[in-house]
Amino acid sequence: MKIIKLAWSYLRIGIANELQYRVNFFIQLLQSFIALGTGLIGLWLVFTQTTQLGGWSQPELLAVMGIYMVMGGVIQSAIQPNMQRLMDEIQDGSLDFALTKPVDGQILVSIREFRFWQLTDVVVGLVVLVIAVVQLQEKIGVWQALAFMVALLLGGIMIYSFWLMLTTTAFWLIRIWELVNLFQGLYAAGRWPVTIYPQWLRLGLTFIVPVAFAVTVPAEALTNRLTPLTLLGAFGLAILLMLLARFVWRLGVRSYSGASA
């Protein structure tokens, strides 16, 4: 309860602060539309050649793109800024302040930053998603919608856990700026359903960088492809990654404080 209140305080103050910078909103909006434009051109190029891509029709791929944008917006607004701040603080030592607070350290470092204007990606992505669903001309049942939401949530948890583990390596490596670019490059692969990639890459995008679960699996839920087994797998992997991230975080803090030295 206290944590929710605290997260809300950060969110409220973060938003209030960012609302002062309206220019950022327009820049962000422009960026969202450029991303949308390049995405649409990509789709259009593919469908001038073929009517299907790895078994996915045009509106289905549009749905994938919508989810990709929504998830990307969530990452950019809520996950990445926190991880970047964590990286900075490990580097300059001001993480000491976070670690001397009477709140769980992992939770605290995960809720401090929020980039409100990045949510334009989420809004644009949702619009794309709605258009795609209308084009699909299929009825989306309650269970399907529910499975979609659950898959999206699990995907978010996995991406967060993955990012946290990546960032936590800064405790040992100190300088890991390149990792941000690496992640963004890999995430860009999620623009397409991972099923179209060769198997080795598909496995990598599923289990090493959980892009498949963040984008493709929710899309499968919307397009009647999702098997209960996949959803169960997503659930299992989300829990596993969460526990693993927790473990790595603890290890990082221990090495930071020299408990093992």
């Binding site: 305080s9 103050i13 001001s94 000491d96 709140v103 221990r254 404080s257 020299g258 030295a261």
Partner: protein, 328 residues
């Protein structure tokens, strides 16, 4: 007698640091096989601090002050010796412990630079779960004491170093901690600002009976705030006691200033003449000979005025370290 606020018994912290020689070849070699040196940052130090005490923690750079403060605030795990702070073992980082302490580091900031200080204060309230009425009372009391009513509304980015430091102090004390670890809280500040921060710490200590452990390179801070000082050097404890005792023990000399009625006179027979000009002479006299020399000067010279002073505390401290370095 109440339980001590802080008990440290044979506390040590050793670091393993990789060593390599300069140059590309050595760098390549160290990629595969690293050599480590063990550095004793803190080496078997012991002391106790009573509740409400303000203690100055002195030592040159790299003496182990910050390492000790970090062990006491639970950030570092000691190599040996378990400190006790308010009945807790700091490295366990229990919430009940962390709620009662605070850490201020003069060279690091815990404020969000884009936010006005008021917002950071509110976040601090949420982190510590301080009830709103208490929080507002404390906050306004501090704002008043430091005279920053207008500044708290500006983004921290736009404040001067000194102004920002005031905010850092406020944000660090909003939850009214019982134990304060202040690591160079006045570093880089001008004299006026140093004094304001100092007075604030003094006032906080007086009002709430908080225990303060302070490191500073500004002796004025220490002289104004701390009756007691702990001196460490190369991780070892050199001195623990009253500031005046430190001066007595480590300054072998006193300075005698003489203003002459007739403007002239020979003084080299009394001791080392540091300065002689326009009817004023400054002499350096071994401590134990001071009464005798003073009497002689008064008897033999035509004196208008005579002062006997301890050397500046900086000089004393410097001497302590120089002496100990030579021994080690």
């Amino acid at each position: 007698m109440p339980n001590p606020a802080i008990t440290v018994n044979l506390l040590s912290k050793h670091y393993k640091v990789p060593v390599r020689e300069a140059g590309l070849k050595a760098a390549t070699k160290s990629l595969f096989r690293r050599k480590y040196n063990s550095v004793k940052a803190v080496d078997n130090i012991s002391f106790t601090i009573q509740p409400g005490e303000v203690v100055g923690f002195l030592g040159p750079n790299g003496a182990g002050k910050t390492t000790t403060l970090k062990m006491l605030s639970g950030l570092l795990f000691p190599t040996s010796g378990i400190p006790d702070v308010l009945g807790f073992q700091p490295s366990r980082r229990q919430a009940d412990f962390l709620r009662q302490i605070t850490l201020v580091m003069g060279n690091r900031s815990q404020m969000s630079w884009d936010l006005p200080a008021l917002d950071s204060f509110e976040l601090q309230r949420a982190i510590y779960g301080v009830p709103s009425p208490d929080f507002l009372r404390t906050r306004d009391e501090f704002i008043e004491l430091l005279d920053v009513k207008e500044l708290v509304k500006k983004p921290v980015r736009n404040l001067s170093l000194g102004e920002r430091m005031k905010m850092e102090i406020i944000v660090a004390l909003l939850h009214r901690p019982k134990v304060l670890f202040l690591d160079e809280p006045t570093i880089g500040l001008d004299v006026t600002m140093q004094r304001r921060i100092r007075q604030f710490v003094e006032e906080y200590n007086r009002r709430y009976g908080a225990t303060v452990l302070l490191t500073s390179h500004y002796m004025a801070d220490v002289e104004a705030l701390c009756k007691r000082v702990i001196v460490i050097h190369n991780g070892k404890l050199l001195f623990d006691g009253d500031l005046s005792t430190l001066v007595d023990r480590f300054s072998a000399f006193k300075t005698i200033g003489v203003t002459l009625a007739n403007g002239f006179g020979s003084f080299s027979q009394y001791g080392e003449v540091l300065n002689q000009e326009a009817g004023h002479v400054t002499l350096r006299i071994p401590r134990e000979k001071t009464p005798e020399v003073t009497a002689r000067i008064l008897a033999e010279q035509q004196v208008d005025d005579l002062t006997v002073e301890d050397p500046p505390i900086e000089d004393v401290i410097e001497k302590v370290f120089a002496q100990k370095s030579a021994e080690v």
